[in-house]
């Protein structure tokens, strides 16, 4: 019986190649997209779940006070971790994690290599008990048994020592510390939020030993006893703030928040100062899942549409079968099996497509996906499930609609009633087009927003600046020699040593109006000198730049502030602020030398806050980078020369540079991926929807052959008939536009709220999307319409 069904199904599919191809293509695309997006989403959801303790590990975050805008920070004071383990019995292990030099790149040296390392961390040895490390050299229990030890990942080992054994070897860090390798561990999985490449013992450094409650720079991981009440633990931890921080001191942390390890990856977008770059967003995951279901739904609708569009042709077959004794069950089974066979073919093609297109999708979505991820058991199971669901959903409408057909159609007694089926079919087309139009509008708005950001005046000019790391310089002389060397070089317009490039590793501090002010105003501060105005091309509104150099005995701190600071201080014009003294954390009395226009030092998702460039003797912050403004036609040659001069002046440091405009672009990486993901998938959705429309148009033209014949005999023209056939579809597309527009408007306004600097959703995105949908629909439908209109009426009239 089943064999017979399958045989019949197969012959039906083979007998209607156009429909089968359209169906399979639509479903295969839908499935390919769906699997890929689903795999991406499930990969994102898999983060940190492979650790044995993952359900009991928490990162402790700090809720800050108004001074820090009530933001949640992922970093705690160094004294917090030790206090937790001392005072809270439910906490079994605590590991503080501190990035080398508060986040700067480390300059490493071995016997025969210089290189830069971004993933060097300092941590308590409990880190090995909280997370699972597999050691391939050395022993996890004795990793930090000796002072000045460092354990490294296998890939760090390959970078440093190639294929040699690393255990016991020496590595010099920033030309200051000498460490020996006490262990090598297998690389942490790509879906681990912690991404340490090298770990040294925090207790070897003042950072671990002299723990106090002031500096908040330590990510703190706790292993909590299984079954412990985390809410209570959290309260106990918060109580320690009162216990350990004296009332008269500034308590900038108001409570501690225990964030489950498995939440860190997806729920940390609003948490400041986490170390890991592997931060995703639950919004993206939801969007991916939504998109995948939408595309699949469109593909299913396609199938239903195409299948029922053929009902006229298949009605006879149904009638014959019924006359021969088939009851509804038989016919239901027949139609379901046909859908099952067809969707199985589509699933196989779609699944193969996933592998073939995997690099392409990775490029679009920005999510690294292992091929093995695609053949994992959950994916295979969900494929099976998808097959069943598609068969049941997409197959049910044709099955139920067509098995109901009366055998009387055979006797020409009963014309198929079209009204109900037509209405459903039209609704399905409207659904497909409305979904596609929502996607098109979204893409247009996203692209407009990204374009807006890209071309927005940042308040400085990031083009033509290269930032060269000078943090591993052995002394100040090396840096000033290097700068002197550069100043004479062709193509260099100016060179400024600076603590940070905009938005990178400035210090978070606060300033106060003299005396009267208690709360203060949070600002970012950056140690530099007066040439910064020229190098960054900042717009000076009043006063002068801060000095380029500072005399040895000068005890002043000179400030170059932005407009926001002036506004906070209450001066009416920038000019009023010049020469005034403010209380800064650098120096109790700091003098404002100049005011620059507000500039966007962060991504345009955030608003501009207070920013201060300063120069003083014996600053707390070192100069980490040299910003060079260049003007050259031969950038490669220019950079080679800069490197040569760097090597000549800083022989023991590695040359590490970054172009500022690239750095700025990278801030919008996730938005770019959102845009490309939306673009590609909406195009696919539209394509699939057009496949459906194509099939529908073909069948309607076929069904109306006789009507067209009669009209022609009565004198209708070819264009007139083509118009008649297309106008029906256009109506549907216009209804889709009307439905889609408010939905898209709502969705996009919501998306745009993430940006402080945003465009308004304007009518033209809607007009463009509408026109696009109409054009696609016309292109799809018109060929059938024209063909039907041009057919010889004698033939069509005889066909009955």
């Amino acid at each position: 019986m089943i064999k017979n069904y399958i045989k019949t199904a197969w012959r039906n599919i083979a007998a209607n190649k156009l429909f089968a191809t359209l169906n399979i293509a639509g479903l295969a695309i839908g499935i390919c997209v769906c699997i890929t997006l689903f795999a991406c989403a499930s990969y994102e959801l898999s983060f940190d779940r492979m650790y044995k303790n993952s359900n009991n590990v928490y990162r402790v975050n700090a809720q800050t006070s108004g001074e820090f805008n009530y933001k949640v920070w992922a970093q705690l004071p160094g004294a917090a971790g030790p206090a937790f383990i001392r005072d809270i019995p439910a906490i079994k292990q605590v590991a503080r994690v501190l990035k080398h030099d508060f986040g700067a790149v480390a300059s490493l040296k071995t016997e025969n290599k210089n290189l830069n390392e971004k993933g060097l961390y300092l941590a308590d040895s409990a880190i090995f008990k909280i997370f699972d490390f597999t050691f391939t050299e050395g022993n996890v229990h004795t990793a930090f048994a000796h002072p000045k030890s460092v354990v490294i990942s296998e890939s760090a080992k390959r970078r440093l020592y190639g294929n040699e054994t690393a255990f016991g070897k020496i590595v010099y860090i920033d030309n200051k510390d000498t460490l020996h390798v006490s262990g090598v561990y297998k690389d942490l999985p790509a879906n681990s939020t912690i991404d340490f490449d090298m770990i040294r013992n925090i207790m070897d450094s003042w950072a671990g030993k002299d723990a106090y409650w002031g500096n908040s720079s330590y990510e703190t991981y706790c292993l909590v006893q299984p079954g412990a009440n985390v809410g209570r633990v959290q309260k106990q931890a918060t109580a320690l703030i009162n216990k350990y921080i004296p009332k008269k001191e500034n308590r900038f942390i108001t409570s501690f928040i225990f964030q489950p390890l498995t939440d860190i990856h997806l729920y940390s977008a609003d948490i400041r100062a986490g170390y890991s770059a592997r931060i995703g967003s639950i919004g993206t995951v939801k969007a991916l899942l939504f998109l995948s279901f939408l595309v699949l739904a469109i593909a299913c609708v396609n199938y239903m549409n195409l299948a029922t569009a053929r009902s006229q042709k298949r009605a006879k077959g149904v009638g014959v079968n019924k006359v021969l004794g088939a009851d509804r069950r038989h016919l239901l089974a027949q139609f379901y099996i046909e859908t099952a066979v067809l969707s199985l073919i589509a699933i196989v093609i779609g699944y193969i497509g996933c592998f073939v297109l995997q690099p392409f999708f990775q490029n679009i979505t920005g999510i690294q996906l292992n091929v093995s991820e695609l053949s994992s058991r959950p994916i295979l199971l969900s494929l099976l499930l998808t097959w069943i669901v598609i068969t049941l959903i997409a197959g049910s409408y044709p099955a139920f609609a067509m098995s109901r057909i009366s055998p009387l159609v055979l006797m020409n007694k009963l014309k198929l009633k079209h009204s109900a089926a037509d209405f459903i079919r039209k609704s399905l087309v409207v659904f497909q087009f409305a979904s596609s139009i929502v996607l098109i509008i979204s893409v247009i708005v996203i692209l407009q927003q990204i374009n807006f950001i890209r071309n927005k005046d940042l308040g400085y000019n990031p083009k033509g600046i290269v930032s060269v790391s000078i943090k591993s310089a052995q002394n100040k002389q090396q840096v000033s020699d290097f700068i002197n060397d550069l100043t004479g070089m062709a193509g260099v317009e100016s060179a400024t040593p600076s603590q940070s490039i905009p938005g990178d590793i400035e210090s978070g501090k606060s300033i106060k109006k003299l005396l009267t002010d208690k709360e203060g105003y949070p600002v970012r501060t950056c140690n530099t000198n007066g040439t910064i105005v020229k190098t960054m091309q900042l717009k000076l509104l009043a006063g002068t730049a801060i000095p380029e150099t500072i005399a040895a005995g000068d005890t002043n701190c000179y400030l170059l502030v932005n407009e926001s600071v002036v506004k906070y201080l209450g001066y009416k014009t920038p000019q009023d602020a010049i020469g005034r003294y403010v209380m800064s954390e650098m120096m109790p009395r700091s003098i404002i030398k100049g005011v620059v226009k507000d500039f966007n030092y962060q991504s345009l998702k955030s608003e501009v806050g207070g920013y201060i460039y300063y120069i003083m003797n014996k600053p707390h912050e070192s100069l980490n980078t040299l910003l060079i403004r260049y003007n050259t036609r031969d950038l490669a040659g220019f950079m080679q020369e800069v490197q040569n001069k760097f090597k000549a002046n800083l022989p023991n440091s590695s040359f590490d540079y970054e172009f500022l405009d690239t750095h700025i672009q990278n801030l919008y990486e996730s938005e770019k991926h959102t845009a490309s993901t939306a673009t590609v998938f909406s195009m696919l959705a539209i394509f699939v929807a057009c496949l459906g429309l194509f099939g529908l148009a073909a069948s309607i033209a076929e069904r109306r052959t006789k009507e067209i014949g009669i009209r022609k005999v009565l004198g209708a023209s070819v264009p007139g008939i083509a118009r008649l056939l297309t106008s029906d579809f256009l109506k549907l597309v216009i209804i889709s536009i009307l439905i889609a527009s408010p939905i898209a408007w709502y969705m996009m306004n919501k998306w745009l709220t993430a940006f402080s600097y945003r465009i308004n959703v304007n009518a033209w995105a809607f007009i463009a999307a509408g026109v696009m949908a109409i054009v696609f629909a016309l292109l799809t439908v018109s060929s059938h319409a024209i063909k039907a209109a041009m057919a010889n009426p004698v033939k069509s009239l005889r066909s009955e």
Partner: protein
């Protein structure tokens, strides 16, 4: 075998009501070969549909083999139909995607005949219809006469008690038409009751009795000698 009394059937649209069968009564005995004739629109096909239990009457009684079936629901009718009635159509109505063998096999599948038995019975009937050599061909590869032979084979494979034929020669030339009529006569001689709708006086002469319809009513019955 069949007794209908005061059978009524209307077709309604929003504005017009057409009476297809107007209190029609007739009887067909087991083993008879009856032809139904009449002009277009006289209700022949409607009558055949009701006799074949494809459609239900709006009034009157229809007794099939002693059972009143006029009020049967579709499922019951379908069940009765598949075990008792075979259909032959003017336009053959073979399924294009199935081979000759598979077309004939179909009714056996629906009545749940086991596979080995099916092969035997299909081969038997194909043999009888002299179409065995075409068993693996598709309908569109056959001539009209051959197609109708397949259709008849399909109608009789389940050994129905009644065959309803709707202008079985309408799409055939005269020699093929005669062949089909001979086949039906043979079947009738072996005991199958046949009711045939036809326009052709020539074909009608093969039957025992002609029922002439006009406006949904019996006007004349001719007994053939």
């Amino acid at each position: 075998m069949i007794k209908i009394t005061d059978l009524e059937k209307y077709y309604r649209t929003e504005e017009v009501e057409t009476i297809a069968l107007n209190k029609l009564s007739m009887q067909v005995n087991t083993g008879e070969f009856v032809a139904i004739m009449g002009p277009s629109g006289c209700g022949k096909s409607t009558l055949l549909n009701i006799l074949g239990m494809l459609d239900d009457p709006d009034g009157g009684s229809y007794v099939f083999n002693g059972v009143e079936v006029a009020h049967f629901n579709e499922r019951k009718r379908a069940d009765l139909r598949k075990h008792n009635i075979g259909f032959v159509f003017q336009s053959f109505n073979l399924i294009a995607e199935l081979t000759v063998f598979e077309n004939v096999e179909l009714p056996l599948i629906y009545t749940g005949v086991p596979s080995s038995e099916r092969v035997k019975r299909v081969e038997e009937v194909l043999d009888k219809m002299q179409i065995m050599h075409r068993r693996n061909h598709y309908p569109q590869q056959l001539s009209g006469g051959q197609q109708q032979r397949v259709a008849i084979a399909r109608a009789v494979v389940n050994k129905p008690k009644l065959i309803l034929a709707d202008e079985p020669t309408g799409n055939l030339d005269s020699s093929n038409g005669n062949e089909v009529m001979e086949l039906l006569t043979d079947l009738n001689e072996q005991g199958t009751t046949i009711i045939m709708v036809t326009h052709s006086e020539h074909d009608a002469r093969y039957s025992h009795r002609i029922i002439r319809l006009l406006d949904g009513q019996t006007v004349v019955e001719n007994i053939m000698i």
